[in-house]
C-alpha cells in the first residue's frame, strides 16, 4: 500500500477549463500541467476509466467523467484498450489520492503525467455535463501552470480549435502495420479487421471464438484485405466524422460486392450505413456510457450496452429499406432516444452495431454478436463446401 498522499486539493496547482461558448470552470490541475484542447464530451460510466482513456475513439476529445471518484483502482497493464491514452484532456471531480486494487501497478495521476495528459479536477462536473447536454458537445480548453492567462485570451484560443464535424481521424489512431492476433485454441476462421481506431478487446473477443484476426491499417485496400483470405471482414470503431470516411466506405462496398461475411462496430456501423446509402449526422451530445438500453428488434430483448458515439446513422426505423446491396433493416435501436444502433442486410451476410459488444468497459450483454459473426462465417463456409 502506498502511504504517500497528494495532500488536500488545495495543495494542487490551479487550473481552468474554458468552453467555446465562454463558460468557465475553475479547479485544480490533474495529471500533466500545461494546456490541451479538444471536443468536450461526457462519459457516464462509473467503472472502466482505464479502458475509456485508452479507447482510440476518444482521440481529440476532452472527456468529462460524471462519476465523481476516478482513479480509485489505480492503473494496471492488463486493462488498457490500446497502447496509449487517447483522450486529449481529462476532467474529474475527485481524483483518488491512493489507488487500491490487487492489480494496481501505479496511480492514475502518475500515468496521466507520464503520458502528458492535461486534466483538471475539483470542478462541478455535473454542471458541466448539464451544460453540454443542453448546448451540445463543443470545443474546450484546459489550462494550468504556465498556460494560464486571462479569460478572454484563453477563450479566443479555444475558438481556434478545429471542429469535430468534418474531422477525418482514423489514420491518426490506427495501426501503421498489419498485425495478427492468433486464435485461442483451434483456429476456425480468419478475419481481416480494418483498424479505424480498434480497441484491444475486439480482436480478443474474436480470438476467444477461434478466429485469427489480421488487423489492417485504416488505409488498407480491398486487395490488402483479400490477401489474407478472410472468412469475414470486420470494420472497427474509431474517432471522427463518418461523413469524411470515403476510403473505408469504398472498401466496404467492395466487400459487400463480394458477399464476404461482414461485421462492423461503432464507426464500422456508420461506414456500413454510408455504404448502403444512408446519411449520418452528429448527435447533440452523443452516447457515452455503459448503461444504455438497446433493443434487438429481431428478438425484442433489451441489452444493457457500452456506447461511445457522437455520430449516428440516419435510417428509417419503421421499414425495410432497399439498398444497392438488397434489403436492409435497422436491427437495433436505443430505447432512450430511438437512435439507430444496428443495421442488418437481409440478402447479404452483413451487419453492424453502433455500440460496443466487446464491452471494455461495460456489460457483456451483447457478446452474442460475435457469435452471430461466427455463424455467418460458418454458413458461408458451409455454402462453399
Amino acid at each position: 500500500m502506498t502511504t504517500s498522499t497528494r495532500g488536500t486539493a488545495r495543495q494542487a496547482a490551479p487550473a481552468v477549463l474554458v468552453l467555446e461558448d465562454g463558460r468557465i470552470f475553475r479547479g485544480r490541475a490533474y495529471g500533466a500541467v500545461g494546456e490541451t484542447f479538444g471536443e468536450a464530451v461526457f462519459s457516464t460510466g462509473m467503472t472502466g476509466y482505464q479502458e475509456t482513456l485508452t479507447d482510440p475513439s476518444y482521440h481529440r476529445q476532452v472527456v468529462v467523467m460524471t462519476a465523481p471518484h476516478v482513479g480509485n483502482t489505480g492503473v494496471n497493464d492488463e486493462d488498457p484498450e490500446s497502447a496509449r491514452i487517447w483522450v486529449s484532456g481529462y476532467v474529474v471531480r475527485d481524483p483518488a489520492r491512493v489507488p487500491s486494487n490487487w492489480r494496481s501497478q501505479r496511480s492514475l495521476d502518475e500515468e496521466l503525467r507520464r503520458q502528458s495528459v492535461v486534466g483538471i479536477s475539483g470542478i462541478d462536473t455535473r454542471a458541466l455535463t448539464r451544460h453540454l447536454r443542453e448546448r451540445g458537445a463543443m470545443r474546450v480548453g484546459i489550462f494550468s501552470g504556465d498556460a494560464l492567462a486571462d479569460e478572454s485570451t484563453l477563450h479566443a484560443r479555444v475558438q481556434d480549435v478545429p471542429q469535430m464535424k468534418g474531422a477525418d481521424l482514423s489514420a491518426e489512431v490506427a495501426t501503421k502495420e498489419t498485425y495478427v492476433v492468433p486464435a485461442i485454441g483451434t483456429k476456425k476462421f480468419t478475419v481481416a479487421a480494418v483498424d479505424l481506431g480498434i480497441k484491444g478487446m475486439t480482436p480478443q473477443r474474436m480470438a476467444e471464438r477461434g478466429i485469427e484476426v489480421h488487423v489492417l491499417p485504416a488505409t488498407a485496400t480491398l486487395d490488402d484485405i483479400y490477401a489474407v483470405q478472410p472468412d469475414g471482414v470486420f470494420f472497427s470503431n474509431g474517432p471522427g466524422d463518418p461523413a469524411t470516411a470515403e476510403h473505408p466506405v469504398s472498401v466496404m462496398r467492395g466487400v459487400l460486392d463480394r458477399g464476404t461475411p461482414l461485421f462492423g462496430i461503432c464507426f464500422g456501423n456508420q461506414i456500413l450505413g454510408r455504404a448502403l446509402g444512408f446519411g449520418t449526422f452528429k448527435l447533440k451530445y452523443g452516447h457515452r456510457g455503459i448503461n444504455q438500453p438497446v433493443q434487438d428488434r429481431t428478438t425484442g430483448k433489451v441489452e444493457v450496452t457500452a456506447h461511445n458515439h457522437g455520430f449516428a446513422v440516419d435510417a428509417p426505423l419503421d421499414k425495410v429499406s432497399d439498398t444497392p446491396y438488397g434489403r436492409a433493416e435497422v436491427s437495433h435501436v436505443c430505447l432512450n432516444d430511438d437512435v439507430v444502433e444496428g443495421l442488418r442486410l437481409l440478402d447479404k451476410p452483413a451487419f453492424s452495431v453502433q455500440y460496443h459488444p466487446e464491452a471494455a468497459a461495460g456489460p457483456h450483454d451483447a457478446a452474442y454478436l460475435f457469435d452471430r459473426f461466427v455463424e455467418l462465417m460458418a454458413e458461408k463456409g458451409a455454402q462453399r463446401a
Binding site: 470552470f25 462519476a67 491512493v98 454542471a127 447536454r133 455503459i290 448503461n291 471494455a360
Partner: protein
C-alpha cells in the same frame, strides 16, 4: 406484451411489526406495490398486522386486513376474498415464509391462488443453502466464475462438530436456514462458541438446518440489486460496497453506493455472475439481491447469498439511485417487461437500463445498545441495528460525514479536538467491530496511526482508509489556518464538515461559524438524483446538498410547506412518526400547498420521491434545515415549517429555527417548552387544577433520599433530558436508590435526577387529541393493559378503553382540554395519565404527534395527522368537520357502543441480543422503552382483539397444554382468578413450590417443577428451564420483583425467548391473555377489513 389480463384481484402480504432486520423499508416497498397494482385496476387485498404503516391506510388497498400474518389468518382472508394471485415478494421474509407455508399446506392450490413475483421453486433455490450452492455451481459451470464458500450443511450438533474438521478447523461461520436478518448466525472460534451458536441456529431454523462455512472474515463485501422480467431482460440497478469488511452483517455495516474500489473487469464479473444466478434461480418477474465477498489479495469472488425478493438493500438501492425497485417489481409481477415501464424520473427513457450515479451514497446504521446494557456490542453476522441514515454527497467524504451527523447520536460525528488515547490501544480496540468503531479509528489516526496500521487492524479497504486520512488532513488545515477564509471553508464543506465540527476545531460557536460562512457566500447547492448522471433532464425534484457550483432547485409559484421528518429509526422514534409526516404531506398537497419533505431515513415512505412535491434527502440538523429553508425561500413563497409530526428530532429544532427567523407553524416553540420543561408544565397543571404525582429533583443521594422519604416508595427515578425512558427505573427501597445515584454517570447540577412518586397499581391512559386554540377533538383514549411503570411504548393498550366509564372519559376530556389550552397547542397533543384510586394524575404531555397516532387513526377511522397538519396551517376543527376530514359530530371519546375494540401490542427485540457470554438478555418490561415495533388486533370484543394482537406479535396464544406460573409475591393475589380460568380451559399448571402452595390453598392443582437453582432432581426430574428448552411448556407467566438485571426468572424468560414460548411478565397481561384464550376456545375467530370496520363505524356515528 403488456399486463396480464387474467388478474382481477391480488393479495399482498406485508411484513408485520417492525423488528430488527425487517423494518420500515417494507412499508415503503409494499405501499409502492399496492399503489401500482391499484392503478392497474386490480382489486388489492392487503394483510399486515402493523398499524403504523402507510400501506395499511384504507385508501392504499381496496381491502386492508390488519390481522396477524400467520398461515391460519391469511387462509381466512383468502377464503373470504378469493384473490386470483398472491404477491409475496414485497413483505420481507415474513411474507415469503407465510406464502411458502400456504403453498406447502395446499391452501393456495385449494383456493386456486397463483403465486406471482417468484415461484416456490425459485424461492427455495434462493433461500435454501444447499440448493443455492448447487445454483452457484451450475453458474460456475456455465460462465466459469463465481463459487460458494466451502461449507457443510448440518441438521444436528453431531453433524456440526464433524463439519468443522471437514472445513479444516476454526473459525467457522454458522448460518441457520430460513431466518431473517441473519438471525442466529455468528462466528465460532472454538467448540464452546460453536455449540452455543449452532445450537441456537438449529432451533431458530424452521427446517432445523444450519450451514457451517469457511471464514472469509476481512474480505471485501459487495451487493448487487438485480431485476428480471419475463422476457429475460436483466438489469443491475445498483452496486453497494460495504465499508466494513466481511464479518459484519450488511445491515450493521456502513455501506456505500456505487461500489468504489472495483475495476470494470471485476465489476462486470460480479454482474455476469449475478445475472447468471438470477436466471439459474428462476426469479423471472421481480428483483433479487445478491451478496459477494472478494478476497482483497487476489480477487477471488465468493457468492454469499441471495434474497429472491425485495429487501432492505433494495429499498436502500431505490433511494440511492431513484430507481423504484418495489414499484417496478410489482409491475413485472403482473406481466409488464422492463422496456414497457417508463423511468419516472426522466419520464422519457425506459426502466430497462442501469442507473448511473454522479454522487456517492453512504448509509450508516443506528444502534440501541444503550437500551440493552448487558448485551454484547460486538457486531457480527446477526443484524443488531435498529435503524439507519443515508446521506448523499458529491463525493465520499461529504456523503460520509453527512451520514454520520444524520445519525443524531452524541459522538456520531468525528471530533478532532481533545486528547487522544494511546495509539496501540486504540488500534487493538478497533479490531473488534462495534457501534462507533469508525470514531475510534479516527481517534487512532489522530493519535498517529499509519494507513497500514489502520488497514491491518480493521481490514477496511485502503481507499476508504485514505479518505479518513483526507478528512483528518482537512481538519488539520482548519485548525492550522490563521483565519477561516472562503476557500478553506468551501474545502471543509466539500468534505462534509458541519458548522458544528468547524466550530469545535476553531473553538468558536456554531452560529458564529455559520455567520462567517454566510458572509463569505459559502452555501450549499442542491443537486438532483436523476438515475442518469444528468444525461437526460430530470422531472422529479429529489435533491441533496453539496458544496458545488450550480443549484438545480427550480422556482415555484405555490406557497410551500416544509415538513421535517424523524430521521433514522430508533427505539422510541420509529415508523409511526414517518406515518404522520407522510399524512401531512398528502393533506397539505390536497389543500393546495407545495409540499417539501426533509428526511434522511431511506427505509421510509416519506423519502419516496413520489410522496411530496419536493424531497430533500438531508440530515435533520439545524444547519442542514436552515440551508434548505433558505433555498426554498429563494425558490418561492414559504408558508411554514412543520416540526410537530416527526417526533423529538424536529421538535428539538423548533426554538432554534424560530430564533433564526424561520416560520414554524402549528404549536409554537414557547408552547413546546411549556410542555417539556418541568417547571413550566407544573404551572400549566396548577392553573388547570390538575394533579401530577409528587416529585422533586435531586443531584445527590441525600437530596434524592429526602424526596423519596417524603413522597414514599416506590419512586420512579430518571435522568432529566432523556428520551424513550432512557435510564428510567422504578426504585422500591433506599438501598437501590443509593445504588442508582452511584451508577448514574450523567448526574450534575445542570442535569439533575427526577424523582417521582411511582403510582403502583395505577391504570395508565394515553390520549391523543387535536386542539385548534378553541376546540378540542379527542382523537382517542387508550387504556394500557400493563399497569403504570411500564413504558407506554412497550405496553399493550386497548381503544376504546375497556374498563373506563363515561365519567372517566369526561374527566380525561376536561383535563386534556385544560392542558392543550394552557400549553398553547395548535395541532396534536399526546398526554399520559394515570388513574390511581380515584385520582387522575397527569404523567406527561407531548405537544406533538405521538407514537400512537397511526393506531388511534386506524382504530377510529379518522386521519388525525392529516387534521393536525391542516390545523397547523390555520384550519379549525369546525372547518375540518365541515370538510369531512373529521367526523361531523362526536370524536374519539364518543365512539358508539358497538365500535370495534383495537388492541396495540409492542414487539420486543430480545432474541437479537446476547451478553458477552452468549446468554440471552432479560425480557422484563420496565419504564425504559425497548420495543422496536407494534401490531394491532381488531375485533368486536376485547378477548379476540387481544388474542389477535398476540398472534400478530409473537405467534398464536396456546389454547391448551401446559402453563408455567411463577409470580412475585405482590402479584400472587391477582394471579388466582386467571389461573383458575386456565385450568377451566384445560391447561395443566406447572409452578415452583411457593406459587404452587398458594394455588393449592385456593383449590387449584399445580404440578410442582424444580427451579433452575435446584438443578435436576435425583430421579432425573427436569428443572423448569430444561422443560422449556425441551418444548414441554406452552405458556409462561413470570413476573419479576423490581426491574433490575439478574433477578429470579432470568433463565426462565431467556429460555422462553429462545424457544419462542409466549411469556407474560405482568399479571395484567395474564388476565388479558386468559380472555384471549377464552375467545379462541369459543367459536371461530373471523377476519374483517379496515374498510368494513370503518363503514360500520361511520354508519353507527350517523
Amino acid at each position: 406484451m403488456p399486463k396480464r389480463t387474467d388478474i382481477q384481484s391480488v393479495l399482498v402480504i406485508g411484513s408485520g411489526p417492525i423488528v430488527i432486520g425487517q423494518a420500515a423499508e417494507f412499508d415503503y416497498s409494499g405501499t409502492q406495490a399496492c399503489r401500482v397494482l391499484k392503478a392497474e385496476g386490480m382489486r388489492v387485498i392487503l394483510v399486515n398486522s402493523n398499524p403504523a404503516t402507510i400501506m395499511t391506510d384504507p385508501e392504499i388497498a381496496d381491502a386492508t386486513y390488519v390481522e396477524p400474518i400467520t398461515p391460519e389468518f391469511v387462509e381466512k382472508i383468502i377464503a373470504k376474498e378469493r384473490p386470483d394471485v398472491l404477491l409475496p415478494t414485497l413483505g420481507g421474509q415474513t411474507a415469503l415464509n407465510t406464502a411458502i407455508s400456504l403453498h406447502d399446506a395446499g391452501t393456495l392450490e385449494k383456493y386456486d391462488v397463483e403465486l406471482i413475483g417468484a415461484n416456490v421453486e425459485a424461492i427455495n433455490k434462493g433461500e435454501d443453502r444447499d440448493l443455492f450452492k448447487e445454483v452457484v455451481e451450475a453458474v460456475n459451470a456455465k460462465i466459469g466464475h463465481g463459487e460458494s464458500a466451502r461449507s457443510v450443511i448440518c441438521h444436528s450438533m453431531d453433524e456440526v462438530l464433524a463439519g468443522v474438521d471437514t472445513l479444516g478447523g476454526y473459525p467457522v461461520v454458522v448460518r441457520p436456514s430460513f431466518t431473517m436478518g441473519g438471525a442466529g448466525s455468528g462466528f465460532a472460534h472454538d467448540e464452546e462458541e460453536l455449540r452455543r451458536i449452532a445450537g441456537q441456529g438449529l432451533t431458530l431454523s424452521p427446517t432445523t438446518e444450519v450451514l457451517l462455512e469457511e471464514s472469509i472474515l476481512g474480505w471485501k463485501e459487495y451487493e448487487l440489486e438485480l431485476m428480471r422480467d419475463k422476457n429475460d431482460n436483466v438489469v443491475v440497478v445498483c452496486s453497494i460496497e460495504n465499508f466494513d469488511p466481511m464479518g459484519v452483517h450488511t445491515g450493521d455495516s456502513i455501506t456505500v453506493a456505487p461500489a468504489m474500489t472495483l475495476t470494470d473487469r471485476e465489476y462486470q464479473r460480479l454482474r455476469d455472475v449475478g445475472i447468471a444466478i438470477i436466471r439459474e434461480v428462476g426469479v423471472d418477474t421481480g428483483g433479487c439481491n445478491i451478496q459477494f465477498a472478494i478476497n482483497p489479495k487476489d480477487g477471488r469472488v465468493i457468492v454469499i447469498e441471495m434474497n429472491p425478493r425485495v429487501s432492505r438493500s433494495s429499498a436502500l438501492a431505490s433511494k440511492a439511485t431513484g430507481f423504484p425497485i418495489a414499484k417496478i417489481a410489482a409491475k413485472l409481477a403482473v406481466g409488464y417487461t422492463l422496456d414497457e415501464i417508463p423511468n419516472d424520473i426522466t419520464e422519457q427513457t425506459p426502466a430497462s437500463f442501469e442507473p448511473t450515479l454522479d454522487y456517492v451514497v453512504v448509509k450508516a446504521p443506528r444502534f440501541a445498545f444503550e437500551k440493552f446494557p448487558s448485551a454484547d456490542s460486538t457486531l457480527t453476522t446477526t443484524m443488531k441495528s435498529v435503524g439507519e441514515a443515508m446521506a448523499i454527497g458529491r463525493n465520499f467524504t461529504e456523503a460520509f460525514q453527512k451520514a454520520l451527523r444524520s445519525l443524531e447520536k452524541k459522538g456520531s460525528q468525528f471530533t478532532f479536538v481533545g486528547e487522544t488515547g494511546d495509539k496501540g490501544e486504540l488500534l487493538r480496540e478497533a479490531v473488534r467491530p462495534t457501534d462507533g468503531r469508525i470514531n475510534l479509528v479516527m481517534e487512532a489516526i489522530r493519535a498517529g496511526a499509519t494507513q497500514e496500521e489502520v488497514f491491518d487492524a480493521t481490514k477496511i479497504d485502503p481507499w476508504f482508509v485514505d479518505q479518513l486520512f483526507l478528512i483528518k488532513e482537512v481538519a488539520d488545515e482548519l485548525a492550522a489556518a490563521e483565519r477561516l477564509d472562503a476557500e478553506l471553508l468551501a474545502e471543509a464543506k466539500r468534505h462534509g464538515f458541519s458548522d458544528h465540527q468547524i466550530a469545535e476545531i476553531r473553538d468558536l460557536r456554531e452560529d458564529v461559524v455559520r455567520e462567517v460562512r454566510h458572509a463569505l457566500g459559502v452555501r450549499p447547492v442542491y443537486k438532483t438524483v436523476d438515475t442518469c448522471a444528468a444525461e437526460f433532464a430530470a422531472k422529479t425534484p429529489y435533491f441533496y446538498s453539496s458544496y458545488d457550483e450550480e443549484s438545480e432547485v427550480a422556482t415555484r409559484e405555490k406557497p410551500a410547506v416544509i415538513i421535517l421528518g424523524s430521521g433514522p429509526n430508533r427505539i422510541g422514534q420509529g415508523i409511526e412518526f414517518d406515518y404522520s409526516c407522510v399524512h401531512a404531506s398528502f393533506a397539505l398537497s390536497d389543500a393546495g400547498y407545495e409540499t417539501v419533505m426533509v428526511n434522511c431515513n431511506p427505509e421510509t415512505v416519506s423519502t419516496d420521491y413520489d410522496t411530496s412535491d419536493r424531497l430533500y434527502f438531508e440530515p435533520l440538523t439545524l444547519e442542514d434545515v436552515l440551508e434548505i429553508v433558505h433555498a426554498e425561500q429563494q425558490a418561492g413563497p414559504l408558508a411554514g415549517v412543520i416540526v410537530q409530526l416527526g417526533g423529538q428530532t424536529p421538535l428539538g429544532l423548533s426554538q432554534a429555527l424560530k430564533d433564526n427567523g424561520v416560520p414554524v407553524v402549528g404549536t409554537s416553540p414557547e408552547a413546546i417548552h411549556a410542555a417539556e420543561d418541568r417547571g413550566a408544565f407544573g404551572k400549566v397543571l396548577a392553573e388547570a387544577g390538575l394533579p401530577a404525582p409528587k416529585h422533586g429533583t435531586a443531584t445527590t443521594f441525600t437530596e434524592a433520599k429526602t424526596i423519596a422519604d417524603e413522597i414514599g416508595y416506590p419512586v420512579l427515578v430518571r435522568p432529566s433530558y432523556v428520551l424513550g425512558g432512557r435510564g428510567m427505573e422504578i426504585v422500591y427501597d433506599e438501598a437501590r436508590l443509593s445504588a442508582y445515584i452511584e451508577e448514574s454517570t450523567e448526574i450534575s447540577p445542570s442535569r439533575p435526577v427526577l424523582v417521582d412518586r411511582f403510582l403502583d397499581d395505577a391504570i395508565e391512559i394515553d390520549v391523543d387529541a387535536l386542539y385548534d386554540g378553541h376546540e378540542l377533538y379527542l382523537g382517542g383514549v387508550m387504556e394500557h393493559i400493563e399497569e403504570a411503570g411500564i413504558h407506554s411504548g412497550d405496553s399493550a393498550c386497548a381503544l376504546p378503553p375497556i374498563t373506563l366509564g363515561g365519567h372517566d372519559i369526561k374527566r380525561l376530556r376536561a383535563s386534556t382540554e385544560g392542558i392543550a389550552k394552557g400549553v398553547g397547542v395548535r395541532g396534536l397533543i399526546n398526554i399520559q395519565f394515570a388513574l390511581s384510586g380515584d385520582i387522575l394524575y397527569v404523567l406527561e404531555a407531548n405537544p406533538r404527534a405521538s407514537r400512537t397516532v397511526p393506531f388511534t387513526s386506524k382504530a377510529t377511522a379518522v386521519p388525525l395527522a392529516k387534521a393536525a397538519a391542516r390545523i397547523s396551517l390555520g384550519a379549525t376543527v369546525a372547518e375540518l368537520r365541515a370538510e369531512g376530514l373529521l367526523p361531523a359530530t362526536g370524536d374519539g371519546g364518543t365512539l358508539p357502543m358497538d365500535a370495534p375494540i383495537s388492541v396495540k401490542e409492542a414487539v420486543m427485540p430480545w432474541s437479537r441480543f446476547r451478553d458477552i457470554h452468549g446468554r440471552g438478555v432479560d425480557t422484563v418490561l420496565g419504564p425504559e422503552m425497548r420495543s422496536t415495533g407494534e401490531v394491532m388486533g381488531i375485533d368486536s370484543v376485547f378477548g379476540t382483539a387481544y388474542a389477535k394482537s398476540q398472534a400478530g406479535a409473537y405467534g398464536p396464544l396456546p389454547t391448551g397444554g401446559r402453563a408455567f406460573i411463577s409470580v412475585a409475591n405482590r402479584d400472587k393475589r391477582s394471579m388466582i382468578f386467571p389461573a383458575r380460568e386456565l385450568v377451566a380451559h384445560g391447561f395443566e399448571l406447572l409452578a415452583t413450590s411457593g406459587t404452587a402452595e398458594v394455588l393449592k390453598r385456593n383449590g387449584i392443582n399445580a404440578t410442582i417443577v424444580r427451579k433452575q437453582s435446584e438443578g435436576e432432581g435425583p430421579n432425573g426430574e427436569k428443572t423448569i428451564v430444561q422443560l422449556i428448552h425441551e418444548g414441554d411448556v406452552d405458556l409462561i407467566v413470570n413476573t419479576p420483583y423490581g426491574t433490575g438485571g439478574r433477578l429470579d426468572g432470568y433463565d426462565i424468560r431467556t429460555a422462553a425467548v429462545a424457544r419462542s414460548v409466549p411469556c407474560l411478565t405482568t399479571v395484567q397481561a395474564l388476565a388479558a391473555a386468559v380472555q384471549g384464550i377464552d375467545a379462541l376456545n369459543h367459536g371461530d375467530v373471523g377476519v374483517r377489513s379496515l374498510q368494513e370496520h370503518a363503514q360500520h363505524l361511520t354508519a353507527a356515528r350517523d
